[in-house]
Symmetry: C2
Subunit: 603 residues, 2 copies
């Protein structure tokens, strides 16, 4: 039967065969989990995603949100599913038990999230966004703050947000104008307006806890003078019950291209009376505290795109198996029409999509693996390397997954052709929903600046060199396997070229040519992403080739052989294109910097 | 002041400086036109587009269409503008005078259409779609048919359509099931259902004339047995007045991703009573007659994408000039924030967009130039070459413009970041509207099959060789200009590589490897398109460099220098990437054909 949302066999392959996650399950921390329980969790999650969440996806988008007098009502169809998932604690799998979560390892929590995000992303976001707020409070809050907020947020009884953006402070957080004045009782009175606040107001939770970035009167300008405050929608009484309404109100919601069931709110603080906030951590520590959440948010945004791409690909491939149109190429005029999966250009497109979905999923799980390893690694050195790798690759997981995930959704629409342009199939919605991922939590341009400006130079470039070394481990291993030898050699060429490009760009980024270097930062991020894809697909092909030698079941033969073909396709058709692009970075064209502003035309 | 829709200076450059359209104006056929009248027409068109059409674009999309009991009502705001444009004969500029049009040369009609399409595409389509129907009737109709329909269609008093697609006959026209039975009076009774019929029903015109593809009882299967019929919504009395309603009804409209003000109709014929059609041309000539319209439809679809890209780019570049965010790269922390056009990655993105908008516009006007030359060329040989060039490049103008135009719209949204994801700016609508262009009038995959399967082999490959020769003329001329010498040499390398790829692919397309060859047909179309871009941009840069030597006005210096920088950017950053892609076509990876259907997963 046609699968939906996530290819089950593929997910199992990644978490159990490509990555040795079973090793993590031996640790004391995960005593409650073994492979069987993990498989069961995944099975249940798939059921909920397909049977409960997915049926609400189109309707919740179609009905949309109702905004009136500061109140946002979500579509009714979301409510029972939200309750079901809240009761089942499906929103806090990866949260430590001491915070009220399930304490599951990242890899299984991520696998589940891929299903949930693909089934109804806004619903999943309402359910799980409190975790980020809870994590901040757990890390920086006072004992009382922890006691008051953490478990309620983790259980999704209360919702969480992040009030960062203002109309003149988006990418440029330091420009924010929201102010805080200290009161005699140690609280602060906040005043200001925020925009683009995801889930800033809705009626799924009894209370919403807003972390708010603001500048305390007299604090330094720029990012150095930013503090972070906990601003509850309803004050919380000492006994945990809800008290008065705080003066933080939703003043409007955006009318968006996609994710229409997710409330994107404008928020006003202190406009009607007094908006009280509680300092989290110390004064002027706002950016540091927020950045702790930022890596996770960027990971999740990348995963959001992956989830859409995964679901859109499965829809497209199964539609291509069913849609009958035109005779087979090369057959006589009166030959019968066939399913379009038989047409060469459709096959090329599907394999192109599959190569990205596969590579992106492996890349995402690799990141989870690094994150887990940064806690559970045997030595401090291993832990440190894993953490560095995670840091280095975070801008890529955000930007590259967003862009490639979107491209996959667009091509899924193309497979449906005219039907794909209508709202009759979910691929249309996946394409729209996915577009946000290249924008929020830092645009692709911001990620590219982070990569070139901060991450490439980590530890004097040693982290990047270690990254190349990690790829070469797989390349060298794949060279020893007959079926992947040739592919491994091709990837080796790519890795060498990437090293050359990185050296060239890094040097220039610190020279008088820095502007030209940064004009090549996003292309650089992209070719680094391409290299990661080649690495991940080669890795998959190598594992699959080894499994093929063990006489697997017939269905597994097709699966493993598909891995080898997918790697071959990517490495022979995308890699040389990417290498061509790498050479343009070395060529270092200055035109984008040299052209005068008037030269862009339009004046 | 910020320009909208189309860069005026750029359009003038293309039609008067890059291409010598003034030469055409010397012909007797265009005696009523000179450069001054053409400039005036363009000026008036721009005014109407910006002042009348554009203000209705968002509203007509937002209000949308009303469908009830077989009747489609268009948004009220479109009606006065439609009347104004109809009265001004703005829909039939390029139609010959004897058909009731203005007899303007193609280049000026196309320049006008770019404005109109960018300002409100559905409105322009309602206004001008009758031209295609009229052209078919003018070419194949009886004298009576011509007298009855042509002028009413050209004047937009009546609307026109094309009833081709059925639910099981999209790309595969030969599979259609609509039938026609000959009546004693020579008319035919039609019976069947069509889908995806643009403007199949609406209330802007008194009558709608439907050309319908159907199979006469007993005709051969496949495309050979298809005839084409004129099916008026209302019968026309001998005196030209409208008579009874024909039994052709709209049974529903599609809910689409974009172009929401354009009615995409399901049409039923003969379901309630008798649907009468009049044979156009001879029996079983339907495909031939329709294909005469198809090249024009494919051109217009490419232009639709160009128009969106043009408008979206102008919005983005002017937004980038106004939007203040972050200090300049490399400046101290307390430096003032600047307009985002100063940021290297934004500049790169804008120049990337500009290079495509410029190249695509030149390519489009090149096609118009060939079309005109195929009539007005001095010798039969010149005429024939021009016509062949037009035929060869039609699949590229359709597919490449659709895809690159869309990419430009997507990047325009990226420049707006969060704001671009909302409906506050038209870029969001341009992105959605543009997606249709890669789908209708033959998907990109269909265009690629046409290119590789039919066009590359035209006259034993001589047309393609002539195409390479045309590029080399510009390359050789550009080598003689100091400022473009290096760029010309780079393009020469690309042309040589394209020739090699074409030879390789063409040979394989006729071998047992034909399926693998066709799995590379769309990448091939794309690299051929990239080569055309490089050619057009080099051409622009060469012309601009020569103008720069003549001490132009200050504003023109920025414009011409912008041309050189744009060519440099494209040729140094896109061309090598494309050459890398060309090498993958020669490498000829068979994975997309070799992989088993099960190997795609999802089962």
């Amino acid at each position: 039967m046609a699968q939906q949302l996530v290819d089950q066999r593929d997910m199992e392959f990644v978490i159990w065969e490509q990555f040795d996650n079973e090793e993590f399950l031996k640790s004391e921390q995960f005593a409650a989990f073994n492979r069987k329980t993990c498989d069961m969790i995944l099975k249940e999650a798939r059921k909920i995603a397909i049977n409960e969440m997915l049926p609400t996806m189109a309707e919740s988008e179609d009905v949309g949100l109702e905004f009136k007098d500061g109140v946002v009502k979500v579509p009714e169809c979301m409510k029972p599913v939200f309750e079901l998932m809240k009761e089942g604690d499906w929103g806090n799998l990866m949260i430590p038990e001491e915070m009220g979560g399930q304490g599951a390892p990242d890899f299984i929590s991520s696998a589940v999230a891929e299903y949930f995000m693909a089934a109804n992303w806004p619903l999943n976001a309402y359910l799980s966004m409190g975790n980020g707020t809870a994590a901040m409070i757990a890390m920086y809050g006072t004992e009382e703050q922890k006691k008051t907020y953490v478990k309620k947020l983790v259980s999704a009884e209360w919702g969480g947000t992040m009030l960062l953006t203002e109309s003149s402070a988006g990418s440029d957080v330091g420009a924010l104008e929201t102010t805080a004045v200290k009161n005699d009782d140690g609280t602060y009175s906040l005043s200001g307006n925020k925009i683009f606040i995801t889930n800033g107001e809705h009626d799924l939770c009894d209370n919403i806890i807003h972390p708010v970035l603001a500048r305390i009167e007299g604090a330094p300008v720029g990012t150095k003078g930013i503090s972070i405050f906990i601003v509850p929608k309803f004050f919380v009484n000492d006994d945990g019950s809800l008290g008065d309404r705080n003066d933080i109100w939703c003043t409007g919601i955006e009318h968006k291209h996609g994710i229409k069931a997710s409330a994107t709110c404008s928020m006003a603080m202190g406009a009607k009376g007094t908006c009280i906030g509680y300092l989290l951590g110390n004064e002027n520590e706002g950016m540091k505290i927020m950045f702790n959440m930022m890596n996770g948010a960027r990971m999740h945004t990348g995963q959001q795109a992956l989830a859409y791409a995964s679901a859109a690909y499965l829809m497209a491939v199964n539609y291509a198996r069913e849609r009958i149109q035109m005779r087979e190429l090369g057959q006589p005029h009166d030959a019968p029409s066939v399913a379009i999966i038989n047409h060469p250009d459709v096959r090329r497109n599907l394999l192109w999509m599959k190569s990205y979905v596969s590579g992106l999923r492996s890349f995402y799980q690799y990141m989870d693996y690094q994150k887990e390893m940064s806690h559970l690694g045997e030595t401090e050195e291993i832990k440190k390397l894993a953490n560095s790798m995670y840091e280095l690759l975070t801008p890529i997981i955000k930007s590259y997954l967003a862009n490639k995930g979107y491209d996959v959704c667009v091509q899924a629409v193309q497979v449906y052709a005219g039907a794909g342009y209508t709202k009759d199939y979910l691929v249309e919605q996946y394409m729209r929903d996915c577009k946000i991922t290249s924008i929020y939590e830092g645009t692709c341009g911001i990620q590219a600046m982070d990569l070139l400006g901060r991450k490439m130079g980590m530890e004097g470039g040693k982290v990047f060199m270690a990254f190349l070394g990690e790829i070469m481990k797989i390349v060298n291993a794949a060279k020893e396997v007959e079926a992947t030898k040739d592919l491994a050699e091709r990837v080796e060429g790519m890795v060498n070229k990437l090293g050359e490009v990185a050296g060239h760009l890094g040097k220039n980024a610190m020279s008088l040519n820095y502007k030209i270097a940064f004009a090549h930062s996003l292309p650089y991020l992209d070719v680094m992403g391409d290299t990661i894809m080649a690495w991940m697909l080669l890795w998959r092909a190598m594992v699959a080739s080894q499994k093929l030698e063990d006489n697997p079941k017939k269905k597994d033969v097709a699966f493993y052989d598909g891995q080898v073909k997918t790697a071959e396709f990517f490495i022979r058709t995308i890699v040389p294109t990417s290498i061509g692009r790498m050479s343009t970075i070395i060529d270092f064209c200055p035109a984008a910097i040299d052209i005068s502003d008037e030269g862009f035309g339009g004046l």
